[in-house]
């Protein structure tokens, strides 16, 4: 061997030696802190390529070529990584790891008792988004109608509002970007529910809380509908719509730098044509007519957004129905309404874990109601019979409400958060009833504080307290709220909630001055089990609600706070988008046992707005090939009680009572999506109560309770045909893109 070849030999020997050092086999099992095996954990020797990954049984095994003292690392997303020293000597090593879950917003337990949250923050199957609202068959794009398919809500159709768990419509309040909405529904005539004022497309998130909601909200005994408006639109667009009952047009303009936007929409509804084609129960002397104009702007700030939304509505309805005491007379009811709503909000991340939410709203509502007894020639008639003539009324009512609210949030360690803030409302109600003036002024202030504490990824608590003062009621109240949530499995969790809720009595009780009426009160207890995967949700909830200090209105007009009541029940919800491809369905069932003594009720009675059993089945299927979606909704409610109260001396007694027949309705709608020239068009056809079930919401009694008349929907069915066009951004993408 020559000198040089010797060197070459040494060179290769060295190279070989480095390549093939002695191997050490390392193996073991990876588990989490609950002792469950974890797959896909990367195990490696720090600084080298050697390592492996755990299999579905949590096992791993690999060879390493390094020697001596090294560091072994086990890591997987969602867990805290573990590093520990290891001595590699060639002898096989067995090593096990126990990884602790990191507290993570996406996987952590959430307090879900009481609320249905929609939005993709949690990725769990969203319960209801804006598209769901417009595709619930028979809901006609109305948020409230869509929410009625969820457990807890009653199928009440003779008045607007959400009647939740034995509560009245007044006990549910809507909040937009934090502040309460004074008049969320359009003006209505007796026995016919009006629609909500707000389009579902205005909102990106909806929380429907049927109890135990956050200390940030108050003045709602039973339920809160918490709506969050959309941020900047994706691009500019123009819209137009034509339908059997309305026409509308709108414009949404996004600035070139995508930092701000503004928009304006106008809609006009007139039921003249529709009522000419579809006969109605009552006759109308002024066919329902609504104008609505809304405008908005949104400006992106450094770390947040400022949003302003305003809507102005004007409506006029005049309806004539037979007088219940005399077949020769009619009650003519006319209402003219003006409403102006403004909401300004500012959300900002201030840095260092601080977040600020400021909100302000201002609204004005004017109702001019005129009720007349008319003869067959539709002329004003006088009978000299007091119980008939007393129906003649003229009411002018003017309400305004200004609110400001500030909420500050600070992130604590992990994902725990503390939140605090306050709100102030100033409201006046001026009304003139038959030439008598009433004026109510309220200065209302509230302070609240709340903490979301994550003890581990699996155990969280929400502790809050809210204090309120209303000058009108002239009382303070302090309402504690407490929730606990525990994760029982990867997809399942349990939560328990307790909370106290106070609300001012309704204005019509407060008109009768100086009664010293205090807050009405409800105490909620909820227990909830929920299992959610990306495409399925199962939810079971039991509740008990206790009512105290409800308002009683005896014939003496000596109103008091001595009423009471309770509501208890069990609710079930199941939504599934997985089992059948492209079929999305949900089923909800509510069992409700409730009684209350309030208003004219002389004792605790099951209220007229509460059915024992309520169920809904909602189905939606989209056929991509024909660009058509079919939506069906079936709702059932067992019969509701009705009463006639007779006044005897200074008390009411039950004069007559009964239970209505069961309520059934089957609604369906078809959406067809297409493109006509440059505009994207959605055609919608819908019918509610397809099978023409004759539904009875309750009964109206004559003056002495000897005769009763059914309260029915104004027409058994409602048909709708419409075309919604948009230019610019394709809103239909919301519904499509199944195929991407």
């Amino acid at each position: 061997m020559s000198q040089s070849s010797k060197w070459l030999f040494t060179f290769f020997v060295v190279l070989f030696a480095i390549k093939l050092s002695a191997q050490t086999r390392v193996s073991g099992i990876v588990k989490d802190n609950h002792g469950r095996t974890i797959k896909g954990v990367t195990i490696s020797i720090k600084g080298s390529y050697d390592g492996g990954a755990s299999d579905s049984a949590g096992k791993f095994s690999f060879k390493c070529y390094d020697k001596g003292l090294q560091t072994i690392v086990a890591k997987s997303i969602g867990y805290k990584a573990i590093q520990q020293p290891i001595v590699l000597s060639g002898t096989p090593i067995s090593i096990n790891f126990s990884l602790h879950e990191e507290i993570n917003e996406l996987t952590a337990v959430t307090v879900t008792a009481g609320s249905f949250e929609a939005g993709d923050k949690k990725r769990a199957a969203t319960v209801l988004n804006s598209l769901d609202v417009v595709t619930v068959g028979g809901a006609n794009g109305d948020i409230t109608n869509a929410l009625k398919t969820l457990p807890g809500a009653q199928q009440v159709g003779e008045q607007e509002g959400l009647f939740v768990r034995g509560g009245t419509g007044y006990e549910t309040k809507q909040f937009i970007d934090g502040t309460m909405v004074a008049n969320p529904y359009g003006a209505s005539v007796p026995d016919i529910a009006s629609r909500g004022r707000f389009s579902p497309f205005l909102f990106k998130g909806t929380v429907f809380s049927t109890g135990g909601y956050s200390a940030q909200y108050g003045q709602a005994l039973s339920s809160a509908v918490i709506l969050e408006t959309i941020d900047l639109p994706e691009s500019s667009q123009a819209t137009a719509s034509v339908s059997s009952v309305f026409v509308g047009a709108g414009l949404q303009e996004l600035a070139k730098n995508k930092k701000s936007s503004w928009g304006i929409n106008y809609g006009y509804t007139n039921l003249a044509l529709y009522f000419a084609l579809v006969p109605q129960g009552p006759t109308y002397f002024h066919l329902p007519e609504f104008h609505s104009l809304d405008a908005n702007f949104r400006i992106k700030t450094k770390g947040g957004i400022i949003k302003y939304y305003t809507t102005f509505g004007a409506s006029n309805i005049g309806i004539r129905r037979p007088n219940i005491d005399s077949s020769l007379l009619n009650n003519a009811y006319g209402i003219i309404n003006y409403n102006w709503y403004n909401n300004l909000s500012w959300r900002e991340y201030l840095g260092k874990g601080w977040k600020m939410n400021l909100g302000g709203s201002f609204s004005i509502n004017t109702d001019k109601i005129n009720v007349q007894i008319q003869n067959q020639l539709n002329q004003r008639a006088y009978t000299n019979i007091s119980y008939i003539d007393s129906i003649n009324t003229a009411i002018t009512s003017h309400q305004d409400l200004s609110q400001v609210k500030a909420v500050f949030e600070k992130k604590l360690s992990g994902i725990s958060v503390i939140r605090f803030g306050g709100e102030y409302w100033y409201g006046t109600v001026k009304s003139m009833v038959k030439d008598t003036n009433h004026l109510l002024i309220d200065n209302f202030a509230a302070l609240f504080s709340e903490a979301d504490i994550y003890l581990t990824n699996d155990l969280a608590a929400k502790i809050g307290v809210r204090g309120e003062y209303s000058s009108q009621v002239n009382q303070f109240n302090v309402a504690p709220r407490l929730s606990l949530a525990y994760k029982t499995g990867v997809h399942s969790q349990m939560s328990a909630v307790h909370g106290q809720f106070y609300q001012k009595p309704e204005n019509n009780y407060l008109y009768y001055g100086n009664q010293n009426l205090g807050y009405v009160k409800a105490t909620h207890y909820l227990l909830n089990y929920m299992r959610t995967t990306a495409l399925q949700t199962f939810r079971l909830e039991a509740f008990y609600k206790k009512y105290d200090n409800l308002i009683e209105t005896p014939p003496t007009y000596q109103f008091d706070n001595k009423g009471s009541g309770y509501a208890q029940g069990v609710e079930l919800f199941w939504r599934d988008k997985k089992t059948i491809k492209d079929l999305d369905y949900w089923f909800s069932y509510s069992y409700l046992d409730t009684k209350r003594q309030f208003d004219k009720y002389p004792m605790q009675l099951a209220p007229t707005f509460a059915a024992k059993h309520t169920a809904s089945l909602v189905m939606k299927k989209f056929f991509t090939k024909i660009n058509t979606g079919f939506n069906f909704t079936y709702s059932y409610a067992s019969g509701r009680p009705y009463y006639y109260f007779r006044s005897i001396g200074n008390k009411y007694m039950i004069g007559d009572e009964g239970t209505t027949k069961d309520y059934n309705t089957f609604g369906c709608s078809v959406n067809y999506l297409t493109k006509i020239k440059k505009s994207f068009v959605v055609f919608v056809a819908s019918v509610n109560n397809v099978f023409n079930s004759s539904n009875v919401y309750g009964y109206n009694y004559n003056h002495n309770g000897t005769f009763k008349a059914e309260i029915n929907p104004p027409a058994p069915r409602f048909f709708f045909l419409g075309a919604f066009m948009s230019w610019g951004v394709d809103r239909r993408q919301d519904a499509i893109n199944n195929n991407l």
Partner: protein, 207 residues
């Protein structure tokens, strides 16, 4: 003299070894990726690239392939928790982008967004559809000549029905652009080199 030579040869051996170590690993990993068939094959490949990436710290490529093979595993295993996989992919992408922000990593962001969108297209469109769109826009800004951008854009358009602003006609020029760019596209060693055949196949389908 002898001693000096021994030292030099030792040094050279180590350096040669170090240089080829990364290249060897890349070659080995890419071969494994090519042969991978099942979801667990792909997760193994991903884990391998993850180890290489973590050991190297200055190479974005192993992070890219760790993300890409994990992404591919999600499509094979229908029961996989796609959101969880996506989170892991995004973690790799973020680490890769901290080293180098480029069109291929942005393309992977788009692919992962589509993966998450597909879990529930109806309710996720607004969030993940927008993310996917932004990712391709970022990719174009980073390198308008990357042919995979136009292939991915074409796929989205191709799979969107004609009536909704998609379809063959609109997708065709995108695939055409991708195919044209592939003609002159020369990737550096170990750089992403997929999409040429796929784009040609799609272009054929558009005719």
């Amino acid at each position: 003299m002898k001693k000096v030579l021994v030292i030099i040869s030792l040094l050279v051996a180590t350096v040669v070894n170090a240089q080829s170590k990364f290249e060897d690993a890349m070659t080995k990993g890419l071969a494994q990726m090519k042969d991978a068939k099942t979801a667990s094959d792909y997760t193994d490949v991903s884990s391998f690239f993850e180890r290489v990436a973590d050991a190297e710290k200055t190479q974005w490529l192993p992070y890219y392939y760790a993300g890409m093979s994990l992404y591919l595993s999600a499509w094979i295993d229908k029961s996989a928790d796609k959101d969880k996989i996506a989170d892991k992919c995004k973690d790799f992408i973020t680490k890769g982008q901290a080293i180098e922000n480029n069109a291929d990593l942005y393309c992977l962001v788009q692919q992962v967004a589509i993966l998450q969108l597909m879990v529930d297209p109806m309710s996720r469109w607004q969030t993940y559809g927008a993310q996917a769109k932004t990712a391709l826009a970022d990719a174009t800004k980073a390198d308008p000549n990357n042919p995979r951008i136009y292939y991915l854009q074409g796929m989205t358009t191709f799979n969107t029905p004609e009536a909704y602003g998609g379809g063959k006609t609109l997708a065709k020029p995108m695939f055409q652009k991708s195919v044209d760019l592939f003609k002159t596209y020369v990737p550096k060693p170990f750089y992403p080199n997929w999409g040429k055949e796929e784009a040609e196949k799609m272009l054929e389908q558009c005719k």
